[in-house]
């Protein structure tokens, strides 16, 4: 899918490719360091951009960033987000590849006092990816919500590490993962919440749900809570299984074929994630990516 075709008319668009960097925003870029000082919505697109230095996104206001990639060769990204005091970031990421490839992406997100992050990560990556996410709640009342939709097409292998470190009092984290694995897809997750000693009144929750669409698909989730403090709130869980056969029967009893019924159920499964996306174009891009994977394999 040509993502740029959908984004080209956006007024706040920054493009990084191997050939050129295009920036029609007021954001200054120096050595891959981007400073967001004003409240606004931005679109950032990476296409086979080779990093010499890690990317740093510094957030000082209320900002929405849509970060999309569409690589056609092995390209690894190391990206760090620095959320300054009382800043708010709504971040949507969609790491994707035009052709089957392998990559390592690492995101580190640091939150200062009262900073808030809403992170929606769509992982429909075509190929093999090791995706590491580390969120550090560095100061009091920092909050993070992570929603991740991972659709594994046939034969892909996604290895995902998510870790939230509560390093200050009264910090809050919530992770919701929705995972779908097609034939021969492997989705392996390690999800860790860590509350260090003395960081009382912190809240750390995670939920993992997975649907395997074939006997040959694999989803493994290792939800972990490492808690070194008594006065905290924490929960975790994982529910993984095959598609509900009674739901399939019900839909088929109304005339839908097996594959039509499965598509409808999966669309329903992804809806809670997709409905969080506040931008129609981005929603459309993601819906197309997901339905292409589902259609191809159903």
């Amino acid at each position: 899918m040509d993502i740029l075709k959908h984004l080209k008319d956006e007024s706040n668009l920054i493009i990084f490719t191997d050939d050129f960097i295009s920036n029609n925003t007021e954001i200054k870029i120096k050595n891959n360091h981007l400073l967001f000082e004003k409240e606004n919505e931005f679109f950032v697109f990476f296409d086979n951009y080779t990093l010499n230095n890690d990317f740093v996104f510094e957030i000082k206001n209320k900002v929405k960033i849509y970060l999309l990639t569409s690589q056609s060769k092995k390209t690894d990204y190391n990206i760090r987000f620095e959320l300054k005091e009382a800043s708010e970031l709504t971040l949507f990421t969609d790491f994707n590849a035009k052709t089957k490839t392998s990559s390592k992406h690492r995101l580190i997100i640091n939150l200062a006092k009262k900073a808030r992050l809403e992170f929606m990560n769509a992982l429909v990556f075509n190929g093999k990816i090791a995706f590491d996410l580390e969120v550090n709640l560095l100061e009091e009342k920092a909050e993070v919500t992570i929603e991740q939709l991972n659709v594994g097409a046939e034969g892909v292998h996604h290895m995902v590490n998510q870790r939230v470190n509560h390093l200050a009092k009264s910090t809050t984290s919530k992770i919701n993962n929705w995972l779908i694995a097609q034939e021969n897809a492997k989705l392996n997750y390690h999800v860790t919440g860590f509350i260090s000693k003395g960081k009382e009144l912190s809240k750390c929750h995670q939920s993992n749900k997975g649907i395997m669409l074939s006997d040959n698909s694999e989803i493994s989730v290792e939800p972990k809570l490492l808690i070194d403090e008594y006065d905290v709130e924490a929960s975790h869980g994982a529910a993984i299984g095959q598609m509900d056969e009674l739901q399939l029967y019900y839909l088929m009893s109304r005339g839908m074929t097996d594959s039509e019924a499965k598509s409808l159920i999966i669309n329903g499964y992804t809806l809670p994630f997709i409905s969080l996306i506040a931008n129609e174009k981005i929603e459309k891009i993601l819906k197309r990516q997901v339905s292409r994977v589902i259609r191809r394999n159903s």
Binding site: E245, L248, Y249, Y250, M256
Partner: protein, 266 residues
């Protein structure tokens, strides 16, 4: 239009449930099937729909003289069989509107396109007729619906899909008196020479609103008696013991079985 069930034997998990059942339903006819719990009434409806947990041991099911027992669930539906389920399934994330639209589209020929304006008007009319309230279209399929709403939603689908043979499996359970009357009136409105109706019920009250042409009593997996209104009244007053006594039927022990999981394909 004719549904013919011929000497049907059906089992689940090694338990024989239907044991030589025969029934013919013609277009324009309404058949009521009554009987004690566990005699196979719902099994009859499910096997006609193609529920994959049940196994046909022998016999046949014909729709307009064509055997349907090798047809998949969706094929049977598109051929005109409809089952209003006793326990409609919840499907989170799928809106009622998208679901019904998809179901209607499956019945269209390749060159046809859904006229969305007309579809919306028909959906809204059906929704109003069944007093489903505003916002039904955008609610997730059966999720958070009351028992009565689920049953009315089944009838809404029936109205939208125009089946040839409709099984209504205990559509009266979970309905209060007003809702029962509403459902009864809506189903009665759908009666036509092109629709054969099979009502599965325990109670006379549904049949006060949908008048059957034939009343069948099922015991131990087959129809043991067929009659008309007089049979309903007698059952309502005296239960089924007199039938068993009259016909010399002894109660059979049926092992419990599960419908919890079922493969989607034969």
């Amino acid at each position: 239009m004719k549904l013919q069930i011929k000497d049907l034997y059906v089992s689940i998990e090694g338990n024989m449930i239907l044991k030589g059942l025969n029934l013919i339903v013609n277009g324009g006819e309404t058949h009521a099937i009554m009987g004690p719990n566990g005699t196979g009434k719902s099994t009859l409806a499910q096997i006609c729909m193609g529920h994959p947990s049940y196994k046909i041991e022998s016999g046949d099911i014909l729709l307009d003289d064509e055997s349907i027992i090798e047809k998949t669930v969706d094929e049977r539906s598109r051929m005109g069989i409809f089952l209003a389920m006793q326990n409609p399934i919840e499907v989170p994330g799928v809106t009622n509107f998208d679901f019904v639209k998809a179901a209607v589209q499956t019945r269209m020929k390749k060159a046809e396109h859904l006229r969305i304006g007309r579809f919306i008007l028909k959906f809204e009319k059906a929704s109003q007729d069944l007093k489903m309230g505003q916002g039904l279209a955008h609610r997730f399929l059966n999720q958070g619906f009351s028992g009565g709403e689920k049953k009315r939603n089944e009838i809404l689908q029936m109205k939208m899909l125009n089946p040839k043979i409709a099984f209504l499996d205990e559509i009266d359970s979970g309905l209060d008196v007003d809702a029962l009357k509403l459902v009864g009136e809506n189903v009665t409105e759908l009666k036509s020479p092109e629709l054969g109706l099979v009502l599965i019920t325990h109670y006379q009250r549904l049949l006060d609103y949908i008048t059957p042409d034939f009343v069948h009593i099922m015991i131990n997996g087959k129809i043991v008696m067929t009659g008309k209104d007089e049979l309903i009244n007698k059952i309502d007053q005296e239960g089924y013991d007199w039938v068993k006594k009259e016909l010399g039927i002894e109660d059979e022990e049926v092992k419990p079985y599960s419908l919890g999981t079922c493969p989607s394909k034969h």
